[in-house]
Symmetry: C2
Subunit: 163 residues, 2 copies
DNA sequence: GGAAATTTGATATATTATAACATTTCCGGA
DNA sequence: TCCGGAAATGTTATAATATATCAAATTTCC
């Protein structure tokens, strides 16, 4: 049997978080970017699960922790994290998720389960190639690709099967 | 030279609109759906150009015409049109555009020019196939694909070249 | 140590979308 | 034809997402 992707099975999620934070620190150091406490905390909150988090969810967590925070606080941190390839925005959900391939040059492809809400980010070079080819055929210069697939993850398919 | 796609060159746009409306009437008749005056008018407004239109832009046009309209008026009409495959929502822009392949079973792929704002909808079966393959490899049941490419259309590339 | 650049704080407001409930219109069957 | 239910529309209010603006603090670097 093929191994299931991380979001779809129990795993030591704290390890995901630690890895993401370590990667973020390394990437910011390499890029001479300042991963300030708020930015780092927002990244950590985003990584609390494999489900995308809304900006106002992040805001609520920050204020619950006693930080004085307003919407711009969160959006600024998210902008920074996006610009450095540490989080992605899921346009179809108006929400944000930690980048699973930070530092690697890639076009994100997101599999979004409409039942459990988990999101898997794939690299899928074949898909990227096909997209670039199609754009090129129209003489279109592609700069940014939004590719989001909504559906059912393996786990939720299995559960629904014996309802 | 390859012929340019419609949105990128001058054309008799009224023909686009007429065709879209005629198609819509036929499709609704076939599906026993009611293309009411407001719904038809919203579709026509959406088709005024090949640039996506925001819901509140549509609303403004309706009120300018003297129609008593509120946000739900527009969103309901747009929901109806989406459900019958007559318009698409562009998630990355929070805006709506007329479907260029109404009635045909397809996964939309949108080329969005960040300079002129025009959008070209492609069918790109190769891309769809690659996406389905990638999803299948993860045992993911794909139901809805959002594929939006931002970049520069042929015309805007040419214009910017001799700035 | 101090000027410039970056980051943060704080308030206000813009933009996009939906909830809830009353009213009207449409359409098929008695 | 008219009536009853379904579908569509009107209306008001509000939720959810995102940005503008300007002041204050912090960091960087010479």
């Amino acid at each position: 049997m093929a191994s299931q992707a991380l979001p779809y099975r129990p795993h030591n999620h704290q390890a995901c978080v630690s890895q993401a934070l370590a990667d973020a620190r390394a990437i910011c150091r390499a890029q001479n970017a300042r991963l300030t406490p708020t930015r780092e905390r927002v990244l950590e909150l985003i990584w609390q699960s494999h489900k995308p988090l809304g900006a106002y969810d992040v805001l609520a967590e920050l204020t619950a922790e006693g930080q004085s925070a307003a919407p711009p606080t969160v959006y600024r941190a998210l902008d920074f994290l996006q610009q450095h390839g540490l989080v992605h925005r899921i346009a179809s959900l108006n929400a944000f998720i930690g980048c699973a391939h930070a530092g690697e040059n890639h076009t994100g492809m997101f599999l979004i389960c409409r039942s459990c809400g988990n999101v898997l980010e794939l690299k899928a070079p074949g898909v990227s190639g096909a997209i670039e080819g199609a754009a090129k055929a129209e003489h279109f210069k592609a700069e940014d690709v939004t590719l989001e697939i909504a559906g059912l993850c393996p786990r939720c398919q299995a559960e629904n099967r014996h309802d």
